[in-house]
Symmetry: none
Subunit: 421 residues, 2 copies
């Protein structure tokens, strides 16, 4: 601890199950993203299993190299949760029982209509001496804030949603208060839908070189059906973001989604709300995923009536009135069926505009003419006006479903953009 | 390096982009899974950015604690790839130019119809003195195998596909030859749905102690609406898995899902297929997520006709014929509406059995009587026989949706189990 750590540096230690600690990567992802966006530098991420000796080694390693150490996981009530005890040992402090936390835990069980709180949960009411309790609104394990040898240690619960909530509510405001200067860096994420990573990289080469020459950082991130460009700039050069935005808009036209890490779904929602339009979906191979993705966004009920998940051909006929002859002649994965599905979804979904998705997600169901990954989509704006698109996606069943749902949502956005101002 | 590391222990260091090194989690995931399944113990995973000092610290930390260190990333041709140089410095060895690698790189470019190999790529033909070249079939960066102070270090390329290929082709056979005994471990995962983690822990205490006393490892993992128990046993004690399974079945009855890391959705699918039943869903607050989850499983079309995502009340009336009076009197989130939705889904979905889900996912839409997280569900087996359940879920919109969809799928499984043999 004698060594000076980098300024504004954060070390993250994720503690978790020995056999399956890849599940903890979600927390690394969340923490790195949130912290780096605020200008902090996450210099080490260590994932470690629920063993006291190894937890202590990992935290110690981060304490040597980072000013702030965020630890996730191992605060649960069960035998294998040993983070609290390990940190108490590491810092040479006692664990003391907190009546306040115990009351909160009992409250939480009451809300869930559970009368007898398991005795095991008493373990979660133990706090490290000198630590500050960070109460957990979404779970039973409270967090703890600890100062030690000039560093700040945060112990947060492992479940990703609780971890994210507490990182946002406690850690960020706290460290921003203590290390205000980190705010001298600003970060922004620009979204481009449906373009290959290499194409985006090539088309933005000059822009990238200019930004880097001016002291900025430039990162390209390939997500399903979406390329994100993340830029970090000194606050004094913040004005460059507007320049980047207008350049990207010019280069990528309809494919440019927006700033601040906007998602494909959010871009569609904005477009629908601006035009006061309501949409409905008809989904076959995506099985409800398109509906799920749009309803992840609060307020989606304003512009989304629902989705007809017509997985079987029988429902395609019965519910969406896809003509039997069309199904027989062209097959369920065809332009004609996509059009009939979109028309049905628009009519029976009482919507202004509709999207249909029908394809072959695999692993079976392919023919020579219709390979795995073939997906037909249609958007209907009126009973007589529609657009269609054909896609070939590669990858697993799950990957094909996800890309198809996102490509569908993006296709709907593009059709609205071009036709409904 | 004087300290003895745990036997069969592996440390993983992932090197990558400063802004977004969460993208490297894929490699942690791949390596941990492959290694743990073979009986090796991955005791530390460190993710670090492309900075020489930090790479050296991370590798050093793993060398101190693990017998084998696998490093991914930073072997590319560009200015920011510094792993090779950092490891040479750390181990005090020289970098030497390898004609063999240079020829291989030129070959690879020729295959891609590129005549002039960029001079930059010469960097990739540098090898650490005393290291063994691991040739890369899918990319330009070769790997390197190095022995150092009684440890083995593997440097592998960062792109996940190349990393996985080289881990499988070189690292696993190599370390299995050197540490053969690791193959003597077997692993199994048991699923229990809808029980709190602490309850599962308490009820399995005796079983756990018995397994641990017999040399096994026992891990409890809390996933949304699902608790997984993962056991590792010496191969000679493999017969204990059957004993654990029958004990868990006895303890948890309907809540026990099965073995081999079975999911809630898979357990439902098995039940439906065994009984040759077809189901349909009616979803409101989950927005299509229940349909998405079941269609993630190949072959779901055999037992899933579709889902009516009736997000708006209008569609609840128009599509599922939920009576206007019922909606007005009890509200969309009520037992009565859940029943009417399930009946509608069964009838119009042409199904033997149906599930409906209606709830308040938040952040808005709550009233004093109906808080965020309240979800009503119904399962209809005939037009006259149905069961209902009320749940209170906590957490974010996204968490409530996910738990509601999984609880619904599990509720359907339980109703089938009890009523349809």
């Amino acid at each position: 601890m004698n060594k000076k750590a980098n300024a504004y540096s954060v070390g993250i230690v994720c503690v978790g199950s020995e056999l399956l600690f890849h599940t903890l990567n979600t927390n690394i992802h969340i923490a790195t993203r949130l912290l780096e966006m605020r200008g902090f530098e996450v210099n080490f991420n260590v994932v470690v299993c629920d063993k006291s000796e190894e937890i202590k080694k990992a935290i110690n390693f981060c304490l040597e190299n980072s000013e702030i150490v965020v630890v996730s996981g191992g605060l649960g009530p069960t035998f294998d949760d040993v983070t609290r005890e390990s940190v108490a040992e590491l810092t040479g402090r006692n664990l003391v029982f907190s009546e306040e936390i115990w009351r909160e835990i009992q409250e939480r069980f009451k809300e869930r209509r559970i009368v007898n709180v398991p005795e095991l949960n008493k373990k979660q009411a133990m706090i490290i001496e000198g630590g500050v309790i960070l109460s957990n609104k979404s779970g039973t394990a409270p967090g703890i804030r600890l100062e030690y040898m000039g560093r700040i240690i945060f112990l947060l619960p492992g479940p990703p949603r609780e971890f994210e909530e507490m990182l946002t509510n406690y850690v960020l405001p706290d460290i921003e208060k203590n290390y205000g200067i980190a705010q001298n860096t600003v970060c922004n994420g620009f979204g481009i839908a449906g373009e290959p990573e290499a194409v985006v990289d090539e088309k933005t080469k000059n822009l990238r070189e200019r930004i880097i020459s001016l002291g900025g950082q430039w990162t390209i991130l390939a997500l399903p059906y979406l390329i994100e460009l993340w830029l970090k700039l000194p606050k004094t050069k913040q004005f460059l973001f507007a320049e980047v935005e207008s350049s990207l808009r010019e280069i990528f036209e309809d494919s440019f989604l927006g700033t601040n890490g906007i998602s494909i779904q959010e871009a569609l929602m904005i477009m629908l709300k601006e035009r006061k339009l309501v949409c409905a979906f008809a989904e076959s191979c995506t099985g409800g995923l398109a509906g799920h993705l749009i309803t992840e966004i609060p307020g989606s009920s304003e512009c989304f009536n629902g989705s007809f998940v017509v997985y079987s051909n029988r429902l395609k006929k019965k519910i969406l009135k896809v003509p039997k002859t069309v199904l027989r002649k062209f097959g369920a994965v065809s332009e004609e069926v996509a059009i009939a599905m979109a028309k049905g979804a628009r009519k029976y979904g009482k919507a202004d505009i509709s999207l249909s998705i029908t394809g072959i997600a695999g692993p079976s169901g392919a023919t020579e003419e219709k390979p795995i990954g073939l997906v037909w989509m249609a958007v209907a704006i009126s009973n007589h006006f529609f657009e269609t698109r054909k896609f070939y996606f590669s990858g697993s069943r799950s990957a094909i479903k996800l890309r198809a749902a996102l490509a569908g949502i993006d296709f709907l956005r593009r059709v609205i953009m071009r036709n409904l101002s």
